[in-house]
């Protein structure tokens, strides 16, 4: 028996169920987020990820800054930062367009925490990095291209 396949099937239906519950309004997306957002992290493309995060099509904003190197020699460790001067930011997410799964991390910021986070991510190849922020309930995005000379996703 192929155990991995079982797990995939099981988790797949779990995510679908969560989606159904959210659609039916039984649980709001905000509450669903309290658990790891499997749908968003499993989504492959940018569009699917944005949909799973409930972001739709975010507007580009100059008030969101993505920081990182122009060229990353080692794709396994790419320092990335997101900062924004927009008001009431409750969520920040880092997406990497060409990774197998676009979403790298989401940060939920309670009131009092500044919209200024830094972390390190893996990049499989040269790609655009997107910073998504939620300000006053609306989503905004900024992008930066990082060139990778050595991929960090195995292979």
């Amino acid at each position: 028996m192929n155990n991995q396949r079982r797990t995939v099937l099981k988790s797949g239906s779990g995510a679908a169920l969560l989606g159904m519950l959210a659609a039916a309004g039984i649980i709001t997306p905000g509450i669903a987020l309290a658990d790891w957002n499997k749908a968003a992290f499993d989504a492959k493309s940018m569009a699917d990820t944005l949909k799973a995060l409930g972001a739709g099509t975010p507007a580009d904003s100059k008030d969101v800054q993505v920081t990182g190197p122009d060229i990353a020699e080692n794709g396994a460790v790419v320092p990335v930062g997101v900062a924004s001067s927009l008001p009431n930011i409750s969520m920040v997410a880092i997406l990497i367009e060409k990774n197998p799964n676009a979403l790298a991390a989401t940060f939920t910021l309670p009131e009092g925490t500044e919209a200024n986070v830094q972390t390190r991510v893996k990049m499989g190849q040269t790609s655009n990095i997107y910073a998504l922020v939620k300000s006053d309930g609306k989503f905004f995005m900024a992008t930066k291209e990082i060139k990778v000379t050595l991929g960090g996703c195995g292979g």
Partner: protein
């Protein structure tokens, strides 16, 4: 239980900056070992930082966060001697919590 996290928290002008270095493999599930078998995914899914009882940051990670994840953020408030607690859990159900004092 993984190895201890390194946590630094410093208060300057009423804003506390917290830097966390977690010790974790962060295996993506994309890699193959020498025999060609896929190395199963093993990564931190959630990390929460608290100042006293108040949550100051909650994050969700995917496998594309680097090995031994680094995280830095700032929040308003906090004073010298206050406790910062950071806890994480991974997709295998393992978890860990560490404390630091704001300096």
């Amino acid at each position: 239980m993984g190895n201890p996290m390194k946590i630094r928290a410093a208060n300057k002008d009423g804003v506390t900056e917290v830097k966390v270095l977690v010790s974790h493999e962060m295996e993506t599930g994309q890699r193959k070992d020498a025999a060609g078998a896929v190395v199963p995914a093993w990564f931190i899914t959630e990390l929460v930082a608290r100042h006293g009882d108040k949550t100051v940051l909650s994050t969700e990670f995917g496998p594309s966060v680097s090995k031994n994840p680094y995280l830095a953020f700032k929040f308003k408030g906090g004073s010298k001697g206050d406790k910062i607690t950071v806890s994480w859990k991974d997709n295998k159900g393992d978890s860990r919590s560490d404390e630091a004092t704001i300096g």
